[in-house]
């Protein structure tokens, strides 16, 4: 990789504008990290993107001189996705945050990708519309980051994730060319689906500058309840029973005992702290259907739950959802370093997986709490540790390696929504196999032959040896 010399610097400043180009120490330092623990690397320059044209001009120069470019939204990702491991330019999108259009006839929204998820939610909901993807980080995360990571959220079970909503993109290729994919069309099969390919591409294929997403009518009613269980398996069985009863709830979230303790301590919403598991169950839609589904689910829960609490009103419902969203952050209060992982298993295997995680935690003597999206099998085993304790950190890493292996063994995957980035790169081959890796590398070469976009991510120098190899 080349360095930014005086000459290149001058060209970049010309392309970006003086007010958008920074290479003072504080700017570099404050773009050396994202929300991933224990990862940090210094860029050589920070550019605040203003427009597609400007991004294109910047990329042309970087392409010519082979300068790495790391696209960064709110840097809330947990896989090292925006850490500039090879120096170069960090391209920040947060100033590109205009909501361009809400098309009420076609039910779409078009925006610049630096817009925050929450801002889009508020704008469309004000018009009685609905954009379902709601990652826990939506207050800060940018839609560009959501798209690049294919973010999921609490409503994923019923409504799917980001990929199910993005229908059109404007993106700048590494050589500076601008492409438009998809559009406001609900049907479009012209050629390979580049839109879908860019969703989840983790900033390695193109810089996405604008996007069009489809919207739904806002559900008329929402209802939420909590079910408390003395036994984790009972909670897991309840999840299976709900699905088996042909109900698709809008929310079906799970917290284990450790998480309950911490969330309660933080949010003080009166969760009973002697429970082994809690399910947060929600439904939205037509009021009559919501009522009926909630009643059915309540009956199913009653079979094994110790207690059930239905939110009285929207405010209480929102409080419960917010508490669940803050689970990770609340766990972060326990110890200085919080490592959150993202293993996913088929939902029938949730109880087994949670049990396995607990066993593995005990085996390596590390503290791991688990919460997650029970409805879609996406679990977040989260370890509270301290980066300064080298010995413990090594045990944590070994434990997580074993957890990924266990997830795969149960027919799951190494990441359900947080992406590969740096952190999961050594494990990607476990999931997709050597042939899968080759196809992916081929796609990367086709988009980015000089490997300037987010280099060092997704594909590891070396794949980790599987600790358990029997599938």
């Amino acid at each position: 990789m080349r360095r930014i010399t005086g000459e290149i610097r001058a060209k970049l400043i010309e392309a970006a504008g003086v007010s958008a180009y920074f290479d003072d120490e504080e700017s570099l330092l404050s773009h050396s990290y994202d929300a991933t623990p224990m990862l940090q690397a210094m860029p050589e320059a920070v550019i605040y993107a203003q427009s597609t044209n400007q991004v294109s001009a910047v990329l042309k120069i970087c392409h010519q001189y082979e300068i790495p470019v790391y696209t960064r939204g709110a840097a809330s990702n947990l896989c090292g996705g925006t850490v500039p491991v090879h120096g170069g330019v960090v391209l920040v999108t947060t100033r590109m945050n205009r909501l361009l259009e809400i098309d009420e006839e076609n039910l779409t929204a078009t925006f610049e990708t630096g817009l925050t998820t929450k801002a889009l939610h508020q704008a469309v909901e004000a018009k009685g519309l609905f954009y379902p993807p709601d990652p826990g980080s939506m207050l800060v995360s940018t839609l560009g980051g959501n798209i690049a990571q294919c973010a999921g959220g609490l409503r994923g079970l019923k409504y799917g994730t980001t990929k199910d909503y993005v229908i059109g993109l404007t993106a700048v290729l590494p050589n500076g060319e601008v492409i438009h994919t998809g559009g406001k069309l609900m049907k479009d099969v012209a050629g390979y689906d580049l839109t879908k390919l860019l969703v989840g591409s983790e900033g390695t294929l193109a810089v996405i500058t604008e996007a069009t997403v489809k919207l739904l009518p806002k559900p008329q009613a929402t209802s939420v309840m909590l079910a408390y269980f003395d036994d984790m398996y009972a909670a897991a069985r309840t999840v299976s029973k709900i699905i088996a009863a042909r109900i698709i709830p809008s929310t079906l979230e799970f917290m284990d005992h450790g998480t309950i303790l911490v969330v309660e301590d933080y949010a003080k919403i009166g969760l009973p702290t002697d429970m082994k598991a809690i399910l947060l169950i929600g439904q939205d839609g037509h009021p009559a259907v919501v009522e009926e589904d909630m009643e059915k689910m309540r009956a199913i829960c009653m079979e094994e739950a110790r207690e059930i609490k239905v939110a009285k009103d929207m405010r209480e419902a929102e409080e419960l959802m917010t508490a669940r969203r803050s689970a990770l952050s609340a766990l972060a209060r326990l110890k200085p370093t919080t490592i959150l992982e993202d293993a996913t298993v088929p939902r029938s295997q949730i109880a087994t997986m949670v049990e396995k995680i607990a066993e593995i935690g005990a085996k390596y003597n590390v503290r791991i709490c688990t919460f997650g999206h029970a409805g879609d099998g996406n679990l977040h085993p989260t370890c509270m540790t301290d980066a300064r304790d080298q010995d413990e950190i090594e045990r944590v890493e070994e434990a997580f390696e074993e957890i990924f292996a266990a997830a795969l063994e149960l027919g799951g995957t190494i990441t359900g929504e947080h992406g590969v980035g740096i952190v999961k790169a050594p494990f990607l081959e476990w999931k997709v196999g050597p042939a899968g890796i080759e196809v992916m590398k081929g796609i990367k070469r086709a988009f980015d032959p000089k490997n300037i976009l987010n280099p060092g991510k997704m594909f590891a120098g070396q794949t980790r040896k599987r600790v358990v190899i029997n599938r």
């Binding site: 920074f22 003072d24 120490e25 504080e26 700017s27 330092l29 404050s30 773009h31 050396s32 990290y33 994202d34 929300a35 623990p37 224990m38 990862l39 940090q40 690397a41 210094m42 605040y48 709110a74 840097a75 809330s76 090292g80 850490v83 500039p84 491991v85 120096g87 947060t94 100033r95 925050t116 929450k118 980080s137 207050l139 800060v140 933080y266 803050s326 990770l328 952050s329 609340a330 972060a332 209060r333 200085p336 370093t337 919080t338 490592i339 301290d386 980066a387 300064r388 950190i393 890493e397 997580f400 390696e401 740096i422 952190v423 999961k424 050594p426 060092g456 120098g461 070396q462 980790r464």
Partner: protein
């Protein structure tokens, strides 16, 4: 996830005296507690104005940590960033990991202050205000008298007339224009040190009268006492009390702040008070934090005694003050929160509820009422440009409320709002007032019209 294999390169620079001081004073656990999730970004006014990560809480913490970890070459930029921080602490309630940003900010400023080489005039001014003036109520009162002479003798009128004030930077000029009339006698000189409860006694309250508060806003102190006594409290005003030390603590004079804290604790400890009440959010917040300010000292227990008793006036009035028995006031009222009152003392709803209870009045919520107005202690003097940007944004929303009365609960905010009203050309349509003064007015007049 083998971190050793993927750790990126960070510059390792030699520690300077400044970074070593930071290393000594900053709480490393607290720095590490920040998980860099970014949840605090939307709450931060300086991040909103600049859009720059380095001007966000997450960025500032990262810079502090970089200094301690030896990745930061030049402490100057860190210092600039910390100066630009309002200290409004809106980032704290937003932080799910519970990072105590205010503590880190104080520690860092303390470390930098120990090392600061201020220009001579800044040094003189700092000494004058922080050491000579604020800790000494008598001297403040003298200054108040000078101010009265300035205001009453026509000197003010003359200087204004002659256009002399135009020589001042625009910001100071605006402040001069809204400066309230100073009083020659403070609350205790006017009412004595003990004011008995009216009717059945509910308890004893110690009044924290503040330093500048008691000179420039004596009326508010008097109203506070009257309302409290009417609500059934014996009010004592311990004469030995002094400045709360907030400005000191926030400007890196932690030692001075500690010594003021000790003096205040002693002053109130001698009296059997159930509550220590403040009517300035900025002071009250620090009073509540004495416990932490003195935590590694032998006075820690006394400090806890003190901190536990601190309440904001609106808390006591809401529980005990019979607003419903007072007169009516036909006006549109809105409320600008004091940052420290809501973010540190967690007093959010009480002032609003009091205002809602006023008969005849319509309460309108100010959009982003919980966002800092840019006053922030002496921030409006040290960072006039950023302060003015934040104020202008605030006044846009204030204008939109179409309120007749803008209520605040902290003297700094009150002055800032007055200046803002002038700046925005709203003087003919609205006035700014302290919540206590408004309530006193409602109580006294019984009936009043705007």
């Amino acid at each position: 996830m083998k971190t050793k294999e993927i750790q990126g390169k960070m510059p390792q620079v030699e520690k300077t005296p400044v970074t070593r001081r930071l290393q000594d004073k900053l709480n490393y656990d607290e720095l590490s507690n920040c998980m860099r999730c970014g949840f605090c970004l939307p709450a931060c006014p300086t991040y909103r104005e600049t859009g720059r990560e380095a001007s966000s809480p997450r960025g500032r913490i990262a810079l502090m940590k970089a200094a301690v970890d030896g990745h930061l070459q030049n402490g100057k930029q860190l210092e600039d960033q910390l100066n630009q921080c309002l200290g409004c602490r809106a980032c704290e309630p937003a932080c799910p990991a519970g990072v105590k940003y205010g503590e880190l900010l104080e520690q860092a400023r303390d470390a930098l202050e120990d090392h600061a080489r201020h220009k001579v005039w800044v040094r003189v001014l700092r000494r004058f205000f922080f050491h000579f003036l604020f800790p000494h109520p008598k001297r403040l009162r003298w200054l108040g008298r000078l101010l009265i002479i300035y205001q009453k003798t026509g000197l003010q009128w003359l200087l204004r007339k002659l256009g002399f004030l135009k020589l001042l930077p625009s910001y100071l000029r605006e402040m001069e224009a809204v400066m309230p009339a100073a009083a020659s006698k403070g609350v205790a000189e006017q009412l004595g040190n003990f004011i008995p409860a009216q009717g059945k006694k509910k308890g004893t309250v110690g009044l924290f009268r503040g330093c500048v508060m008691d000179v420039l806003f004596t009326e508010t102190n008097i109203n506070t006492v009257t309302l409290l006594s009417e609500a059934g409290f014996d009010v004592v005003i311990p004469p030995q009390q002094t400045c709360c030390g907030a400005l000191h603590a926030h400007s890196g004079e932690r030692e001075m702040a500690r010594s003021l804290a000790r003096q205040n604790i002693q002053a109130f400890k001698q009296r059997e008070v159930d509550y220590i009440v403040s009517n300035a959010g900025g002071c009250g917040a620090l009073l509540q934090e004495y416990e932490h300010l003195l935590e590694d000292e032998c006075e820690a227990k006394e400090a806890r005694w003190f901190s536990e008793r601190v309440k904001d006036i609106s808390e006591l009035l809401l529980d005990h003050g019979p607003v419903e028995k007072w007169g009516t006031l036909e006006a549109r009222i809105t409320y600008q929160a004091s940052c420290h009152l809501q973010n540190v003392m967690q007093v959010k709803e009480q002032p609003r509820q009091l205002l809602r209870q006023i008969k005849g009045a319509t309460y309108v919520e100010l959009f982003e009422a919980d966002r800092c107005c840019g006053s922030a202690g002496i921030y409006n003097l040290t960072q006039p440009e950023m302060s003015a940007r934040i104020l202008d944004e605030k006044m846009k929303h204030v204008r939109a409320t179409k309120a007749d009365i803008l209520v605040t609960s902290n003297p700094g905010c009150l002055l800032q709002m007055k200046a803002g009203i002038q700046r925005a050309g709203l003087s003919d349509h609205m006035k700014a007032i302290h919540v206590v003064d408004l309530l006193a007015e409602v109580r006294q007049k019984g009936e009043s019209r705007y």
